[in-house]
C-alpha cells in the first residue's frame, strides 16, 4: 500500500494512504462499527462525515455464526455495506476486557484476509499500565513472535502490528524497532486505552514518543483506541496518523456529548455550545425531549461531527503551519494534558521532535503562553544560533525589542553607535532570546507575534538564552550618549548587506557557508519598495534569492555550485541512485525511494544539493523530508528540485 507525505508540521503530517478501497488522507478517524448494533450506518457516515475508512471487529464477526458465514461468502465490505477502506481488529481488546478469548492468533489473521479486510490486525498481547517490566517484556516477546508468524498469511491485506510495552519507554521503543523490521504495513500503538481513561496523558505522551522513536517513519501509525478529540492535536503533532472512535457511540449511549475540550452530559446543558447540524437543528431542550433511541442517534451524530471537525482543524493547522499553536491551545482545556506538555521539554524528546520540524512555515509563530518558548522549532533556532552564527565582534550593544522586524525603530541609535564603532555587534533582547541585527528579518524572528508583556517563564528563558549567548562578550545596554562614551572604536568599514547575507547563510547552510558563498565580487539587488535584499550575485552570477515571506534564502544553482565545491561531502547533500540520475537531469524532483544517502543535518524545507553517488552535483532543491524519512519511505517526494545542472 502506498503511503506518502503531502504536507507536514511539527512531527505531524498529512499523508495519502492508498488502499484497495480508495485513498485515505491522514490524519484520519476510523469510527468503530459493531456489525451487531449499528447506530449510524457506514453509508450514512460516508454521506454525513465523508468517512473514508472505518474499523470493525473480526473477532465479533468470527464468533457470530451468520456474520461469519456472510463475511466469508460476500466479503466484509458487502457485509457492512461500505465501499471505503475497512480495518479489522482481532479480539485483543476483548481479551483485555473479558480475559482470555478463545481465538487462535494465526486463524484470526487468515480469517481477516479471507473476508477481504483492507487492514487486518494480528492478535497481539495487550500490555496494561500496571504490569511489571518483566511481564511487559514477555508480552512484547509474544506479540513480536505472533507478528512474525502472521506475515506469511497476510496475502494482499495490509497487516497491522501493534506496539506494546506497557508504560516502559525502552520496551515500547524496542518493540517498535522489532516490528519495524517485520514486513508489516501499519503500526497501531496498543495498550493505551487505560491511560486515556485515567487521563494519564503524561504517560501517554511518553509511550507515543518512545514508540515513534523505534518505528519507521514510512508507515502509518495508529493510536489504538483513542477516540476523544481532546488528544488528537497533540498525538498528531507527535506523529500519529490514525485514531479510531467507539467513543462516539459509547458516550451517546451514556447521553454524553463530546467536545474538543471534554465531555458533558446532555442533562447539564442549556445552550448547546456547538453549531454542527445536530446542534443547529435542535435546542438542548428539544434533544432532551426526543425518544431515547432517536436521541442516542442524534448524540452519536454530534459526537462524530465534532470528532471529524477536530481532524479537519488539525489538517488545517498542518497546512498553515500552526499545529503547535493548536496543540498549546488545546492543552489549556485540561490541566493533565497541560502537564503532559512538560514531557516535550526533555532534551532528548526536543531533539527528536526538532528533527521533524520544518525550517519555515507559511504563517507567523504565535505566542500562546509559557509553552511556546519550549517548542522544537525554537529549540532549533537556538541550536543553530549557538552552533552556526558568529557575532561580528566581542563587543555588543543590546536593545530591547522593537516592532517587527525586531530592530525597527532603532535606526537612528544604531547609526550613532556604528559611527563610533563600525564592527560592533548589535543584539535585540527579544522574547525569543538574543536576535543579532543581521538576522532580524529571518524566520521566525520577524515572523512571530508576542504580546508586549509575556509570562515570567518566557522572560526568564529568553534572558537565560541572552546571557548564555553573550557570556564571552562585552555587552552594553543602549542608554543614549552614556553608551557611546563606553564604546571602543573600530577602524574597518563593514558592508552591512554582506554581513546580513553571510549571517543568514551560516544559519541556513552551516557555519562558514556565508564566507564561502561571498568569496568574490558581490552585488546585491534590493526591493525598491522595502529596501530589503532580494537577489545576491557573486562575480556576476546569481547565487541566492531572499524570500520576502520568511527572510530565508533560496539557493540558486550558481550558489549551489560554489557550496558543492567548497563544502565537503556529505554536508548539504542528498545522494540519489544512478537509476534516478536521468530524471533529475531533466529537472524532475527526487523521490524518496531513490535516495541512497543524505546529510543528517538537513531538515524539512532546508535547501540542499542533489548529487549522484560520486558526489557530482545534479541539481539544487528543497528537502521535504529529513534523512531518516528519505531512507525509509518508498513513496512520495523527498526533494523538490528547483534547478538542474545544464
Amino acid at each position: 500500500m502506498k503511503f506518502e507525505i503531502k504536507e507536514r508540521d511539527a512531527a505531524g503530517r498529512i499523508c495519502r494512504f492508498t488502499t484497495p478501497h480508495g485513498t485515505v488522507t491522514t490524519p484520519n478517524l476510523m469510527p468503530v462499527i459493531n456489525p451487531n448494533k449499528l447506530l449510524i450506518t457506514p453509508q450514512e457516515m460516508r454521506n454525513w462525515f465523508h468517512t473514508e475508512i472505518l474499523i470493525t471487529n473480526s473477532y465479533i464477526i468470527n464468533k457470530h455464526e451468520r456474520l461469519h458465514k456472510e463475511a466469508l461468502s460476500k466479503g466484509v465490505h458487502k457485509l457492512i455495506k461500505f465501499d471505503g477502506a475497512i480495518m479489522t481488529d482481532s479480539g485483543t481488546f476483548q481479551s483485555y476486557v473479558y480475559g482470555d478469548v478463545a481465538v487462535d492468533p494465526l486463524e484470526i489473521v487468515a480469517f481477516q484476509r479471507d473476508i477481504g479486510s483492507d487492514i487486518g490486525t494480528i492478535l497481539d498481547v495487550f500490555g496494561t499500565p500496571d504490569q511489571t517490566k518483566a511481564a511487559a517484556r514477555q508480552g512484547i516477546g509474544e506479540t513480536v513472535k505472533r507478528a512474525k508468524a502472521s506475515v506469511s498469511l497476510k496475502g494482499e491485506m495490509a497487516l497491522a502490528c501493534p506496539i506494546q510495552g506497557s508504560i516502559y519507554p525502552e520496551l515500547r521503543q524496542r518493540c517498535a524497532q522489532q516490528v519495524s523490521n517485520i514486513d508489516a504495513d501499519f503500526f497501531p500503538i496498543g495498550g493505551v486505552v487505560p491511560l486515556m481513561e485515567n487521563q494519564r496523558y503524561t504517560d501517554l505522551v511518553k509511550v507515543i514518543l518512545a514508540s515513534k522513536k523505534g518505528l519507521t517513519p514510512a508507515k502509518p501509525v495508529h493510536l489504538f483506541g483513542a477516540g476523544h478529540p481532546l488528544i488528537f492535536p497533540l498525538a498528531v503533532a507527535l506523529g500519529c496518523d490514525f485514531f479510531d472512535s467507539s467513543a462516539y457511540a459509547k458516550y451517546a449511549q451514556d447521553e454524553r456529548m463530546i467536545f474538543y475540550w471534554g465531555t458533558e452530559k446532555l442533562e447539564d446543558m442549556s445552550a448547546l455550545p456547538c453549531s454542527c447540524p445536530v446542534c443547529s437543528n435542535h435546542t438542548a431542550a428539544e434533544l432532551k425531549e426526543l425518544e431515547r433511541k432517536e436521541r442516542i442517534v442524534e448524540l452519536a451524530k454530534h459526537n462524530l461531527y465534532v470528532s471529524y471537525e477536530e481532524i479537519n482543524k488539525i489538517k488545517h493547522a498542518i497546512s498553515t503551519g500552526t499545529l503547535w499553536e493548536l496543540v498549546e491551545r488545546r492543552a489549556t482545556c485540561n490541566p493533565y494534558l497541560l502537564e503532559a506538555m512538560n514531557v516535550l521539554r526533555i532534551e532528548d524528546h526536543k531533539s527528536f521532535l526538532e528533527y521533524y520540524e520544518p525550517v519555515s512555515k507559511p504563517t507567523a509563530l504565535f505566542y500562546t503562553g509559557s509553552q511556546t518558548i519550549h517548542r522544537p522549532g525554537v529549540y532549533r533556532l537556538h541550536t543553530r544560533l549557538f552552533k552556526r552564527f558568529r557575532p561580528s565582534s566581542n563587543q555588543a550593544v543590546a536593545f530591547p525589542e522593537g516592532k517587527k522586524p525586531y530592530s525597527a525603530g532603532y535606526e537612528e541609535q544604531i547609526k550613532k553607535i556604528r559611527k563610533k564603532n563600525t564592527q560592533i555587534a548589535i543584539l535585540i533582547d527579544s522574547h525569543l532570546g538574543p536576535v543579532p541585527l543581521e538576522l532580524d528579518e529571518m524566520y521566525p524572528y520577524a515572523q512571530s507575534v508576542f504580546p508586549k508583556i509575556s509570562d515570567i517563564e518566557t522572560e526568564d528563558a529568553a534572558t537565560a538564552l541572552f546571557d548564555s549567548f553573550t557570556k564571552n562578550m562585552d555587552v552594553l545596554s543602549w542608554k543614549g550618549n552614556s553608551t557611546l562614551t563606553k564604546l571602543k572604536t573600530s577602524e574597518k568599514e563593514v558592508d552591512r548587506d554582506a554581513q546580513r547575507i553571510s549571517a543568514v547563510c551560516d544559519m541556513q547552510f552551516g557555519r562558514g557557508c556565508g564566507d564561502v558563498l561571498l568569496g568574490g565580487d558581490i552585488a546585491v539587488v534590493k526591493s525598491k519598495k522595502t529596501d530589503k535584499i532580494r537577489n545576491v550575485y557573486c562575480n556576476g552570477r546569481h547565487i541566492l534569492s531572499m524570500r520576502a515571506s520568511d527572510g530565508l534564502f533560496t539557493l540558486k544553482l550558481d550558489g549551489a555550485k560554489i557550496l558543492h565545491k567548497k563544502i565537503p561531502f556529505p554536508l548539504l547533500r542528498v545522494v540519489v541512485h544512478d537509476d534516478a540520475v536521468p530524471f533529475i537531469k531533466e529537472g524532475k524532483s527526487v523521490f524518496a525511494k531513490f535516495v541512497t544517502d543524505c546529510d543528517e543535518e538537513l531538515r524539512p524545507l532546508d535547501e540542499c544539493l542533489i548529487v549522484d553517488i560520486k558526489d557530482q552535483l545534479l541539481a539544487v532543491g528543497r528537502c521535504l523530508l529529513n534523512k531518516t524519512e528519505m531512507l525509509s519511505f518508498s513513496f512520495g517526494m523527498a526533494v523538490k528540485t528547483r534547478e538542474k545542472i545544464t
Copy 2:
C-alpha cells in the same frame, strides 16, 4: 422594558430582556440588516440561528424614499419582515465613515419611534481613538446633551444612549455616569470599531472597564460594532450583554470565513475546520466552485453559525461557572488579546471585577496557564484569607501540595506533628498560595485542578503569597523527624472539627463569625461515607450545613439568629422595604426593587441575613446580586430566601 439577571459568572451574566417583540436572552448577537441588500433574510435568520433580535439602520431607511414611506406606514417590523425585537441605529457610524450626515439628532429619534423600533439610538458623536482629550470631552458633552433632549421623544421605544470618550478612561467613566442618570434603557459602548479594526484590545478592555464602572448594572450594555467572536468571551466577562455583527456579511463579501480564533480566506482553505451545516454540506473545493453570489450567501451563513456558536459557548460557560476558563483559552488565540489580559491585573480593575464574581461555582477551577492565578476569584480568595482568616498559632509546618483535598496523603505526618504540638498551624504550599489545613475542603482549594508543574509565573505568585501570609510566623518545612525536634510543644487540646468550622465561617461570613457561631455546646454530624462535616448544631439547634459540592456552609435559620444578634448592622444584612416584608414572611424570595440597603461586603452567592428597615431578622438566604446591583435593578431576584422566621 424588563431586564433581569438569571445566571452569572465573572462580571458576565445571562439576562432576560423583555421587549414588545419577544424576550431576548443575553448575551446575544444582533445581525446587522441592510434593508437595501439582504444576503440572508430575517426570517431565514430566525429559522437557522434562532435570531431573537437584530439591528438595522434608521438613517438608511430615513433617507431612502420608498423605505422611509413604507417604514412609517407599516412599521419597521413589517418593512424588513421580522417579528422579533429590532434595534435601530441612527447614522452616527455613517457620520464617522463618511463625514457629516445631514440628520437632525432629534428628528432621527422621533423617526425611529414612529417606525416602531423596539430600541432606538440617539445620534451620538462618534469619538475616535486619535482625538485629543479636549475634543473627546466636547464630544461627550454634545452626546449627553442630545441624550437628554431625546428622552422626551422616546415614547414607548427603549432609548439607547451610547458611551463615548475616546480612549480616555476617566471620560468614558464620566460619560457613563452621566447617561446612567438619564432615563435611557440601553447603553452601547460606542466608538470602539477603530480599536477592534486595529486589534487594540488593550485599549478596548480599558474602555469597557471604564464604561462599566460608570454605568448602572441594571441596564443592557452593548459593545457597538463588535461582530467578531474573538472578543465575545472577554467582553461578556467584563459585563457586555449585546454585540452586533455586520462582520458576517462584510467578511463574506470579501470571501473570508470567521472562526473563533480569527478570520481566514476561503482561497487558503483546504480542509474546512468547522462542522456548521455549511461546512458539513460542502468541502472547501465545493465552496470555491459555487457561483460567487451563492458562495457569498454560504459564507455569510457560516459566519453567523460560528458567531452564534460562540454566544452559546459563552452561555454554556456562564451556566457551568467556566467563563474565565473560556476567556483565557480564547486569549491564547491572539497575542494582542493575551496582552489585553494584563489590564485585568491592575489592582483597581481586579477589585471591580471581584465585586461581581460569585463566591462559588458549579464546576472546579481549571488552570489554563499563567493567567489563572490573576483571576478576580483568586484575588478574592486571598483578600478574604488575609483579612478574615486567623492562623491557630504563630508556629506552622508547611507541606507541599498533595492530592485534592490539598492535604490528602499527609495524614500520618500531620498526626506526628500534632502529637508534639497540638496547636501548630498546618499550611499547604499550593499553586493557589498558602492553604491552611482547616480550609482545604473549601472552594476553590479542593475544587481546582492544576498540573503538577505549572508555569514559573504561577509558582512565583504562589510563593510570594505564601511568604506574605507567613511573614510574622515561624514556619518549618516538613522534613520528617528533623522537623519534629524543632517544634515547641503546646498543651491545650484542639477540637479539629471546631477549628475547621470556625475557619470556614470566618472566610464566609467575616473574621470572628466562627467564634460567635460556636459559642455554645457544639455537635457535629459527619458523613459516614466520607467522614466530612455535614451538619453543625449549637446547643441542640441546627446552625450550619456544609455543602459537599463546594465545602462552604449553608447558613440555617438558627445560625442566622445567632449572627444577627451578635454581628452589628449592616454586616451580612440585606434590608427590605416594608412593602415586601409580608412576602418574605411567607418565605418568598427578595426582589431587587424592594431592597433598600445591603452590606457592601456581600458578593453573589454569599449567605445573608434578610432584615426589615428596623433590622429585625425576617429570613436567611443566599445573595444573587451584590449591593450595587440590588439597589439598581428594578426586576428580578436579589436574594433567594431559604428559611423564614416562624
